[in-house]
């Protein structure tokens, strides 16, 4: 784990914890950039946020909400993210590419340019990891870009975004999964609702099952699924050794006072080694900063909801166990 040795966040927590290494990895982040997150995505997101507020907005307030949400996406070089990671004690964050290029029109950057923006950040800081995403309907050209990203550019996993119009069990994804199997790369797929301008079809946990069945050596991470569709997701994670659950989006469960119940649901089913801490930066910046989310999470331990070892696993060790650079490269959970 020499790659962690120099990070300020790690050093500070090494001191605090009496040289006991605690690794915090955020498994689910995005580059906050208007070039990378399309206007159509933003429009749907804004409409959803406003429609969920328990009070009426006048037109001036609606515009003000748009302005504040717009600000959330103004960190294209991840300067604010890094600063917040330092404050929160987060060692590394996984930046997830999303290929909106076939789902929306008038995307500013090509999917290759979006990958290169992520590659630039990987080259600048060892605090970031990146998962590649290419819409599988792009054909041979798309597969070539994915291969280049994971073989040459340092991407360490694959991201899927089914709301763009494909299912995780689609056969056109299998060549991608073959590469993931060869290179021991995890696949993180979005689960549950998203922006109002995309369909939610194929975003249920069941659509991952066929892929997880056919590729037992590939670890599948169900994005947000520890919170969204958490009961179905927990069942899949219980019975598929290669299925893990990402907790990003737990901020909304905190808002609804449901988070402790959900965590209890998973831990009582022995899923402490299948849960991955994540924040979905920058989506929830409006409600709190990265330190808030780590503190809300670690506050579970004193409340006896999660013993310390389990908490350490969720915060970082579980993801470390399935990233390609670690010793345990295969989906041998429980072996």
């Amino acid at each position: 784990m020499g790659w962690l040795a120099g990070s300020p966040a790690t050093i500070s927590r090494l001191l605090i914890s009496g040289l006991l290494l605690i690794v915090i990895l955020d498994c689910h982040c995005h580059i906050a950039s208007h070039q990378i997150m399309p206007q159509q995505f933003f429009d749907g997101w804004s409409r959803t946020v406003k429609s969920n507020l328990p009070f009426r907005l006048d037109p001036v307030q609606e515009q003000r909400i748009d302005e504040l949400l717009f600000e959330l996406l103004e960190d294209p070089d991840c300067v604010s993210l890094l600063r917040e990671m330092d404050t929160a004690g987060i060692d590394q964050a996984v930046l997830l590419v999303i290929d909106f290029g076939l789902a929306y029109k008038n995307i500013e950057l090509t999917i290759e340019e979006i990958h290169l923006a992520h590659k630039k950040l990987l080259n600048q800081s060892d605090r970031f990891l990146a998962f590649s995403n290419v819409d599988p309907r792009r054909g041979r050209e798309g597969l070539d870009l994915f291969e280049k990203a994971v073989r040459e550019w340092g991407f360490s996993g694959m991201k899927l975004y089914p709301p763009c119009g494909y299912s995780p069990d689609a056969r056109i994804l299998f060549p991608y999964y073959e590469i993931c199997r060869e290179l021991h790369l995890p696949v993180l797929t979005h689960i549950g609702p998203t922006t109002a301008t995309l369909p939610f079809r194929h975003t249920q946990p069941q659509y991952v099952d066929d892929a997880a069945f056919h590729f037992p050596e590939v670890n599948f991470i169900l994005g947000h699924a520890a919170v969204t569709h958490y009961q179905d997701a927990a069942l899949l994670a219980q019975y598929r050794p290669n299925v893990f659950l990402d907790l990003s989006g737990f901020q909304t469960a905190i808002n609804r006072n449901e988070f402790k119940k959900i965590i209890h649901w998973h831990l009582s089913r022995g899923l402490g080694r299948k849960l991955l801490f994540g924040t979905d930066w920058p989506i929830h910046r409006f409600w709190g900063n990265q330190r808030d989310w780590v503190e809300k999470f670690t506050a579970l331990e004193p409340e006896s909801l999660s013993p310390k070892e389990e908490m350490d696993d969720i915060l970082g060790n579980n993801l470390l166990g399935i990233l390609p650079r670690t010793e345990r490269k295969y989906a041998n959970y429980g072996a």
């Binding site: 969920n52 507020l53 307030q61 003000r64 909400i65 504040l68 600000e71 959330l72 409006f286």
Partner: protein, 84 residues
């Protein structure tokens, strides 16, 4: 230290927070160090309502993403308003 007690201009903030709090507190019972979420019961959705109402009352743009991230207590809120 009750910074808002020294500044009558911020009484509207105290009144707005009391109105949106689910703790049934009177404006004068709100202390500077009270945490908006835990002590005053202002959850994240009500917090949005709070900042919108404060901006409407002051007719100013007070908040941005960086400032919002720093606001935990009633004092933090008053500091943000005073800084504009």
């Amino acid at each position: 230290m009750q910074i808002t007690g020294l500044n009558p201009d911020l009484e509207f903030a105290r009144q707005t927070v009391a109105k949106l709090s689910n703790k049934g507190l009177k404006p004068e019972e709100i202390q500077d160090e009270m945490v908006l979420n835990q002590d005053l019961g202002i959850d994240s959705l009500q917090f949005i309502r709070l900042i919108l109402e404060l901006e409407r009352k002051t007719a100013r743009r007070i908040f941005n993403v960086q400032i919002i991230a720093q606001i935990k207590t009633f004092r933090d809120l008053c500091v943000a308003i005073s800084a504009v």
